[in-house]
Each structure stands twice: as C-alpha cells, then as structure tokens.
Symmetry: C2
Subunit: 201 residues, 2 copies
DNA sequence: CCCCGGCCATGACAACTGTCATGGCGCAGT
DNA sequence: ACTGCGCCATGACAGTTGTCATGGCCGGGG
C-alpha cells in the first residue's frame, strides 16, 4: 500500500485526483491539503510515502514545499503535478529534491504509474518537457533583475517599483533594461510574459 | 442514471473528474473531450443529460460551446466548471444558456449535487460569485475598446496594435485611454489585468 | 429632425520608458 | 593585487505613452 498526500489549492481538483488514485488497489490517499504551508505538518502527521504537490498554491508554492520536505521528511518522495510545463519549474523542482514532474495534461491513466515509479525510487519526467528545459536553459536574470521584473508584473510604473524596493528610479530602469535585453523582449510587458512562460519568476 | 459529458483540456483533470463522478451510483460519464470544438459532435453522438464544460479550452471556449449546444442540443443542460470565478464569465455563461456555474475550488463533495440539481432543471450558481458579478457589473468597454485591449495583452506597442487592427496610432491611443479610464487603471498593463480579472476580455 | 454616442482621425503636450555612458562599492576567483 | 561581475546611482537623450481638444462620419431614439 502506497500512502499519498495531495496538495492542490483547488478543492475540486484535489478531490477528483483523490478519487482517481483511490481507484487503484495499491494506492491510498492519507491526507489532503489546500496550501503549501500545510504540507510539512501534514506529512509529519500522516507519514505518506509520496507527496503530490501542485506548483501554483497560496502560501508556499509546491517547489518551496518540496524543498521544505527534503529537510523535514527526507523519506517522503515528491511528485510535482502542475498545470504549466514551464522549463524553469522543472529545473527548480528537481533542484528542490522532487523525484517526479507531471503536467496536468498527461493522460489520467499515467498518473498512478508515475506515483508507483516515484515510490520505487525512480525519476519521472516528461521527456518533451525535459528537452524544453534544456533548450530554454537556466534563468539568465540576476536576483535583482528577477525581483524588479516581479514587481513590474502588475503594471506598476517605475516610480512605484522603486518605492516598493527602496531603489532609485534610475536603478530600476537599469535592471528592467537588462531584463528586457536578456529575455529578448523589446518591452517591459513582453519581458514579464516571456520570463513567466519560462518559469523564471 | 444521469448521463454526463466532460470537456476539459487538461487530461489529468478530466480523468480525475470522471473518476470522482463515476463513484456516484446515479451518474455515468458517457463522453470526454479535450477541446471546445469537439463538444457539439460528442453531445450529438452520446446524448448526455448534462455537459460539464471548462471555460479555458483551446478552440471554442466553454461559454461559446454552451451557446453552440443551445442551438444543436437544447435538451442537454450545461454546467460550467471553471478555474476562475470571474464575474464576466458567469454573466456570459448564463446568457449563453448555461444552467450552472461552479468554480474549481468548491469542495469535491458538492459537484455531484450540482450536477443533480442542474439535471433537475435548477440553476446552480455560487452565491458569492453571483454578488461579485452584480457589483462588478457588465463590461463598460465598447467593442473596439475590448478589441484594442486584447491586442495589447502581449505588450505590443501602439504601432503594432494599429497595424494589426488597421487603425491609426492615434485612434488606438484614444481607445486605450478610454479603456484605462473605464477600468480605473492608470496604465495599459493595469487595464489589461483588471479587465481580464473581471472576465471582460 | 436633432442630439447623443460610438467610431475614426489629427495634432500637441506632458509624462513615462528604454538606452547608454559613467562611476562607485563590494565580493569572488585567479 | 587585479579582474570581473553584480549592484546602486546619476544624468541625458530619444522614443513611446496617456491625455486632451477638436472634428468628421454614421446610426438610433426622442
């Protein structure tokens, strides 16, 4: 019997995945949580063999939760299940100690298998996504550039970003300019979009 | 036996929902499709009683598919199941003839009930979302303004938008300015974000 | 009929944005 | 010690954006 924990902020999806996996005779969902913050506590309480974590969650995201689990419960293996197959997500997930990475448009029949493989100590990675991750490469953005781009996501003008980050407006413009150049964009908005698409934010 | 059709582009979610609903003794999933374009054909082929449609799908979105179903198979009731509880989505879904509207963070246990209610001819609408929809009101944007804002989503400069829409740059700026004013934004990017959040695009 | 509102356009102005050159500070690697 | 690089800052310039006034064209409602 493989014991599972599910973490996904969408209750309906969480419940549905639970139903799906519950159909398998050798799988058993022992805990469900709706935010990344609850993951560690739930794992310590229920000792699942495998934790299925969504990336997009309130509080700690799935990748951060995976990293926290590596510390708190190294025996629990992590399978990331996410909507977006962004190259940067995969890379960061693996660095955080995840054993598998599955996108939500893989066929439902394959999920149970992925869980079993992860439980058996194997790595599970969508091959198409892995190659994407290779070609896209690691984020070229420095820490500050990333931070400034994040602050620019909501369309704030330079002045607001500068105030929020306690920087001068000129510095913000420089970082943005660098980010625009590195992302191949011509534009702040474009830079945000491509950085997000690559999982760099 | 209530016969169901599921439409969701994420195969894993689709399969999981199928498993969840399949647990109910009085429900039966008779068809699953992964895009809005396939909905009408699948409904005509399998005659489900209720169609569960996701809004975000390639091809026809769930709302457009609901409208198409009203024409092609008026006996099949539509329950929209979506990630985003955007006021405009709800309004447009109801106008398109949907009988119910459920957000993906409602508890899994309630979905089957929602299906039964819809099948019984009742309307199912999240009350919190309904009030949101009332306060947010209908889109204040004119057709052109909407179109221009859509074209601005990817961060294109005015010149590119003008070229794509065969308008003069000045006109595009005027429409954008109007949209910015109506959305309460100070900014093109902000205007895009709030318009999207309200389901106006 | 006349007026209002949506739509298109032009032109002008102020504000914001993106780029570049330049310089200082600190930290790592050679 | 020197070099390279990230980070912060300033100032200047050209290009883009947002606003406003103005005007023409059309269709619907009073």
């Amino acid at each position: 019997m493989i014991r599972l924990l599910l973490a996904d902020d969408q209750a309906l999806v969480r419940g549905a995945l639970s139903a799906l996996l519950g159909l398998e005779p050798d799988l058993e969902v022992v805990a469900e949580v709706g935010s990344g913050d609850e993951v560690v506590a739930a794992v310590l309480a229920h000792h699942p063999d495998v934790a299925l974590l969504d990336v997009e969650m309130p509080g700690l995201d799935g990748i951060a939760a995976a990293a926290a689990l590596r510390q708190a419960a190294p025996d629990t293996r992590v399978l990331i299940v996410t909507t977006f197959g962004r190259p940067g997500y995969l890379r960061r997930a693996l660095q955080a100690g995840a054993s598998g990475f599955v996108v939500k448009d893989t066929p439902a029949a394959q999920l149970a298998d992925a869980v079993r493989r992860v439980h058996a100590g194997l790595r599970v990675v969508d091959p198409a996504l892995a190659t994407d991750s290779l070609v896209a490469g690691d984020s070229p953005l420095t820490a500050r550039e990333t931070e400034v781009l994040q602050a620019a996501r909501d369309g704030s003008p330079v002045a607001a970003i500068a105030a929020r980050l306690f920087l001068s407006e000129g510095t913000v413009r420089n970082h943005l300019s660098a980010a625009i150049g590195k992302t191949g964009a011509t534009n702040r908005a474009e830079a945000v979009i491509t950085a997000e698409g690559n999982g760099w934010l």
